[in-house]
Subunit: 373 residues, 2 copies
């Protein structure tokens, strides 16, 4: 049994206002091509198919067409779950019908314990879940953290294991050992311990995870993130994106990279240098730019966009003095008005005037009075 | 061939703030029961399955479950289209898979010309459409009104007619002869003539229409509205709701009424009488109340809701003097301040004081000044 493991498609996501649907379609076509070339027996999508609980009509149209392409045209079995970005109910529309052609889309915790068997492997499709749903499922309010919850879930799944089969878990959560780096991820809502320990997942031959966008967030032979198929934030600029091709017998996981239609780059330099070197950088890629100029250049973003139309963020090396850490610690004990005066000085390079200080002080008093009422 | 014709389910609609999902589920169960009892060969739903383009998750869950019940559990073929209240794209999610079990859900004009054949009958599923979509489909910008558009559509469908079969059109529009009465209907967006003439529809053995909520909006043996399965506004209070059971050979259309879980009633009376007679009226039904009292009763709505919790509207017979039409015409020439003074007098029964008049005048001047800036 061989399957392709991908996750976190986030169809409909935009990058600082730039629509990514075409780029997402391009990367989908690469995934489809890899699935065909590697002759996989199934495609696994481990959650966050959409970027939002109410995706745009264009996003709905695109994901519908992509799933139809994989499942109805190419005849791949598809194993998918909802992630924290998806609305389980909305994404689950039609799921009752999909299974007939081998599109297994599970968005309900209660349905996660009935495995889908393809070839020599039983797949358990566990959607993103909240602790309360686990309490409800097991009728046990003592479940307080995600590790306890997962231990219960894994034990219940293990009871269903057919001996002699391989067992794969498809899931969407934050697993231990991983590092949260990308600003495109939201905090998982769990009490107490917030990460699932990979040891909890030991009964499975493979765990196909979604949630973190960096496949290197976790290093475990049998528990892997595929990461997102393309870069969704500047913090992902240096990550290689791709998919896993997993063989169950003998076990093997091969990384196959994906090429972005438009890459994200970090550039640092003076305005003059950036303009002079524009030919070195693909015009339609995305750029995060750090300007090293000391003097202020009026309307600099628009001027740079003449050469780099898709600038997603712009910083200045010399925009404001760096706050030194000792100073920052001292600030914690300051009164609100002193904090404000300090912030103003740091940002503007000059002190508050007496009049400004009085206005600010009056405003702070008024706010305090309101809060005490 | 026998089928059930219903339309305008508007799942997720609320009635002046009162959630109707439970009532809608109850009426759905009656429809399902009728389909079983009459042993129909198919269920036709002629558009407006949802009330909004982005229905709530609860509405999505309910319609998904209802369609699964009819199609997957009861094994009825279902023939459905999108109406003007539905998002074609969102409602169409999963449609590619649905047809495999005989759930034919068409939300695309381009797919309307390929009939679905069940028994002796070819069904053409025409979703709600805008004129521009018809122009695009035929590549003909000269199509200017809905009648021309429908003539083209019907002609194209006729070319696909298999001789010897019966031909049924399922559609969602305003057909000629109908009367727009319900305030729960929005105006159909068409240029020029806004209604389709029933003569245009003559090639069909039966046209199962949705859009108008009153089955009596049109009287034509072969072109019928089923109306909505329940009352969705006070203006529908006196309508009988139900479904058509249509036999194709020999042709016969039988009306089967549906009983609302909670009916809508119009009541007229004094506060004292309404309170005294409360036992005569089911407590959990919906009420439109006209109060005949002359004097103003403080907080009357809340007082009445102790006895009639689901009041959807409240009027007073003697709230304001009737505006006589001659007076209304004269008002068109009045200045804003005079109009306001007039309105105040009509509503409150007394004149503006000099101070009030000055305030109003100043406010109007300020607004005018802003508009001229």
């Amino acid at each position: 049994m061989r399957f392709l493991h991908t996750a976190d498609w986030h169809i409909g996501k935009s990058l600082n206002g730039f629509d990514l649907l075409d780029d997402q379609q391009a990367v989908f076509e690469q995934i489809e091509g890899i699935a065909k070339k590697k002759a996989v027996d199934a495609v696994v999508i481990a959650g966050d198919l959409y970027d939002r609980s109410i995706p745009s009509e264009a996003a709905v149209r695109q994901l519908n067409a992509e799933l139809a392409q994989l499942n109805l045209t190419d005849h791949f079995p598809v194993l998918a779950i909802s992630g924290n970005h998806d609305s389980a109910t909305r994404l689950g529309t039609g799921a009752n019908w999909f299974a007939q052609t081998g599109l297994y889309l599970n968005t309900r915790l209660d349905s996660a314990f009935e495995p889908v068997t393809i070839g020599d492997t039983e797949f358990f499709l566990l959607p993103f879940f909240g602790i309360q749903a686990v309490r409800n499922h097991f009728g046990d309010d003592s479940i307080r953290d995600v590790n306890t919850a997962m231990a219960r879930i894994v034990a219940a799944m293990q009871e269903r294991f057919t001996p002699g089969k391989h067992h794969v878990l498809v899931a969407h959560f934050f697993a231990a050992g991983s590092q949260r780096t990308a600003d495109s991820e939201t905090l998982i809502e769990v009490g107490g311990l917030s990460a699932v320990a990979t040891t909890t997942l030991a009964p499975f031959d493979y765990v196909a995870l979604g949630h973190l966008h960096n496949r290197n967030a976790l290093h475990d032979d049998r528990v892997r993130y595929s990461g997102s198929p393309m870069k969704f934030s500047v913090s992902e600029a240096d990550q290689e994106k791709g998919v896993w091709i997993v063989d169950t017998d003998p076990f093997k996981a091969e990384w196959v990279p994906l090429a972005p239609a438009h890459d994200i780059h970090r550039l640092t330099g003076s305005f003059a240098d950036l303009v002079a070197n524009r030919e070195q950088h693909p015009r339609d890629d995305f750029y995060d730019i750090e300007l090293t100029d000391h003097e202020r250049i009026p309307d600099v973003l628009n001027k740079l966009r003449e050469h780099y139309p898709k600038i997603v963020s712009l910083h200045r090396t010399h925009a404001a003095k760096q706050v030194d850490p000792d100073h920052a610690r001292a600030r914690r004990k300051q009164s609100p008005i002193d904090l404000l005066a300090d912030f103003y000085q740091q940002t503007m390079g000059i002190d508050l005037t007496a009049t400004q200080r009085k206005w600010a002080s009056d405003a702070l008093s008024a706010v305090n009075d309101e809060e005490e009422e």
